[in-house]
């Protein structure tokens, strides 16, 4: 494993979806969230958290903002 999230320079990320994910993770971790807390829900995400190029990927914090329960971390 040689990737270090904190060392990735966003401006060098070519893919917009990967860039949004990396940005979302960096902000979420800086806010003190765990990666599990930032995981999108199994249940459908609410429409108020859209994503896309040029838009902060709020769905990365869905567990933080969205109270709808889901499977979370269970595999089945």
């Amino acid at each position: 494993m040689k990737i270090k999230l904190e060392e990735i320079q966003e401006e060098k990320v070519k893919n917009p979806h990967l860039k949004a994910l990396i940005l979302g993770l960096k902000v979420g971790l800086a806010e003190g969230l765990s990666v599990s807390q930032m995981a999108p829900k199994t249940a459908q995400l609410p429409q108020e958290y859209p994503e896309g190029p040029g838009h902060t990927d709020h769905s990365d914090y869905s567990a933080h903002h969205d109270t709808a329960p889901s499977h979370g971390d269970y595999c089945d």
């Binding site: 917009p16 990967l18 990666v35």
Partner: protein, 360 residues
């Protein structure tokens, strides 16, 4: 602060479907009594003041016990919530029995709902069938529509087996059309699937190929639901932190399973496996269950993993994979039987991310 606990609880092993890969095996008519349900909820929720517990009602088909069973569950949980315990409910159903009453109940009581579906009609009906062989697709979709019309958030769970592993693009397209979040789970050779390995098990590199195809589609299309399905692979590669029960260093800190007769196991997948029976919720104290030698051994798995795991580049984000799937590979301390597939997935995603972020 102690971690939230997820309880995979089986109100019955009975089912109205006969899916070819069912991890439970042949259905039986055991239904959970109210006494067992009450003891499970109260004993586990009260493990410490203000605990956070998530109950995943699993099966068998968890709607078969009927709505009245779940109304009693709410009556058991409500006083506990008023005492400060945090309790949530999720139900994993085949969807075929959902009607307006169920949907209203789920909405009213904030149940998360997962529907099991294996893709569009022709693909789903290869595996998910009623007794007699009729495909369940239309019943599942009808259930999903009723939930949607009632405003109940729900996602899909897709089991990847030999029957659909080569149809990943059709499955991804179907999920886009349905606008649903979903998870892809590799079939495990347990229960009914253990008797049909040749027909069901994914051979060679097909599982990793399906996941990596989804990864490439996400890079191109960027759908939120695709990202959700890939979260357990992509985010650990970026952050170095494992995600999902199968990759946790000690899943027993976060998961436990209760079978319909009150027997307690490491998780839902272990239910019925005598060697890992921790006790019975009616007969044993929680302390006795927690201190069961099998649970302690499972908790120490990361220390006792086989040598090849300890040398692996991905040990920190995989932790040897699922202990049950290690056991299927000969011993709980062995690597998950999907080890090669996981390595291929992690290493390919790592290489592709490096290309995308311009890291040498």
């Amino acid at each position: 602060m102690e971690k939230p606990l997820t309880v995979i609880i089986k109100p019955t092993r009975d089912c109205n479907l006969r899916c070819k890969y069912c991890s439970v095996g042949d259905p039986d008519s055991t239904y959970m009594s109210e006494e067992i349900a009450r003891e499970s909820i109260e004993k586990i929720a009260k493990r410490y003041p203000g605990s956070n517990t998530k109950f995943i009602w699993h099966g068998g088909e968890p709607l078969l016990p009927g709505l009245e069973f779940y109304r009693r569950i709410i009556k058991i949980e409500e006083p506990l919530r008023q005492e400060g315990y945090v309790i949530s409910n999720i139900i994993q159903t085949n969807g075929s029995l959902i009607n307006q009453e169920w949907a209203y109940f789920f909405k009213q009581h904030n149940f998360g709902v997962g529907l099991s579906i294996d893709g569009p009609e022709e693909i789903n009906n290869r595996t998910r069938v009623f007794e007699g062989g009729t495909g369940a697709f239309r019943s599942i979709i009808r259930g999903s529509q009723i939930l949607g019309e009632s405003g109940v958030n729900h996602g899909y769970l897709v089991v990847i087996s030999r029957h659909n592993v080569d149809s990943i693009d059709e499955i991804i397209d179907f999920m886009i059309e349905q606008d649903k979040s979903y998870k892809l789970v590799a079939v495990a050779p347990i229960g009914r699937a253990a008797k049909a390995r040749e027909e069901l098990m994914i051979q060679d590199k097909n599982f990793s190929k399906s996941q990596l195809r989804l990864f490439e589609r996400w890079l191109q299309e960027g759908k939120s639901s695709q990202k959700q399905a890939l979260w357990k692979y992509v985010v650990p590669v970026l952050t170095g932190e494992p995600i999902e029960c199968i990759f946790e260093e000690d899943c027993q800190q976060s998961f436990i399973g209760v079978d319909s007769n009150g027997d307690v196991y490491p998780c839902g997948r272990f239910c019925g496996s005598g060697e890992f029976l921790y006790g019975n919720i009616l007969k044993n104290s929680l302390e006795e269950i927690w201190n069961n030698p099998a649970r302690i051994a499972l908790s120490k798995r990361s220390e006792n993993l086989e040598a090849k795991c300890k040398k692996c580049d991905y040990i920190k984000i995989c932790n040897g994979g699922c202990p049950l799937q290690g056991r299927l590979n000969g011993d709980i301390n062995n690597a998950d039987y999907n080890c090669k597939e996981y390595r291929t997935i992690f290493s390919t995603i790592e290489r592709r991310i490096k290309e995308e972020v311009d890291i040498k």
